[in-house]
Symmetry: C2
Subunit: 150 residues, 2 copies
Amino acid sequence: MADLLTIGETARRSGVAASALRYYEQLGLIASERAGSGHRRFARPVLRRIAFIVYAQHVGLTLEEIGVELGKLAGNQAPTRRDWSRLSKQWSVRIDERIAELERLKIGLTECIGCGCLSLDRCRLANPGDRAAAGGPGPRYWIGDAPARG
Amino acid sequence: MADLLTIGETARRSGVAASALRYYEQLGLIASERAGSGHRRFARPVLRRIAFIVYAQHVGLTLEEIGVELGKLAGNQAPTRRDWSRLSKQWSVRIDERIAELERLKIGLTECIGCGCLSLDRCRLANPGDRAAAGGPGPRYWIGDAPARG
DNA sequence: CCTTGACTTCAAGCTTACTTGAACTTGTAG
DNA sequence: CTACAAGTTCAAGTAAGCTTGAAGTCAAGG
C-alpha cells in the first residue's frame, strides 16, 4: 500500500468526495504533492486532517474557522495530543451550549402544551420580545437568553 | 391597538425582519390582507405562525418542511393544542437525536485524548469508514452509526 | 493502438434563507 | 403643501459548501 494516495483513494478512505477534497485544498485546509502527471498525491497524514475537518464541521465550525484551527496545529500536519486537549476544552463548551439550547427547545415543546398556546400575545415562551422586550426582538428565551429579566 | 398590523409593526413584534416576512409570504408560510393602498395588513394570529416558524427553524427544520407542517394545522391559522401535541412528539425525537449526536462528539473529544490520535489509520473514532467499512464511507461513528458491528 | 476510467483546471451552477437596491407610491406630522 | 418615514414590486446579490460541466490529459489493460 503506497504512502501517497490518489485523490480517488483519499476520497474513498475518508468518505469525502473528490470534489470536496479539491475544494479543501483550494481553501488551504489540506495540501498535496503532485505526480509528474500533475495528479494529486496525498500523504497519509492528510487523512487525519480530513477527519479533523469532518469532525469539526459536525461540532458546528465553518470551514473558515476550521482553517484557523488547522493553522494552529503543531507541525502543521495533524492534531497532536496537546492540540487535541486544547480543542477539547473549547469545543466542549460549544457543544454544551448547543445542547443547552436544544434542551430549552424541548422544554418549549412540553410547556406550550401546558399553556396551550404558542401565542405571541400570551405565552412567555413564544413572546419574550413583545412582553419582556429587554434584550432585543425575537423569541429570545428559546434561543438562548435567560427568561424575562425586566 | 388595531387588529391588523402593518409589516413594520409585525416585524417589530416578532423580531423577524420585514424582508423576511415578505419572503415567508411569498413561500406561502404566512398570509396577509391588503389595505386599499396595497400595503400588507397582518392579522394577529400571524404572529403565532411566525413564532412557530422561528421555533421550528431552531429545531432544525427547513422552511419547506415548516411549510408542510403549517399546512397540517387545523383551521390553517396557528397551532392548536392538538397540533402542538403531535409536533411535540415528532420534534422531541428529532431534538433527542441531535443531542445524542452532540454527546457522541463530546465523547470523541475526550476519547481521542485517551488514544492520542484522531488518526484515520488507528483510531476507531476517526476511522470506521476505513476499518469497519460496513455502513458506507465517512466517519460514521461520530455522525450517528453504532460503533463497529463487523 | 485503442478504450476506459481516473485525473486535471476553470467557470458556472446549486441550495437555503434571506438582504439589498432601484424605482416608485402611501401615510403622517408640521 | 412639503417632508420624510414606511410601504410596494422585482431583480439581483450574498454566504457557505460544494457539485457539475466542459474540454482536455494520463494510466492501465487487452
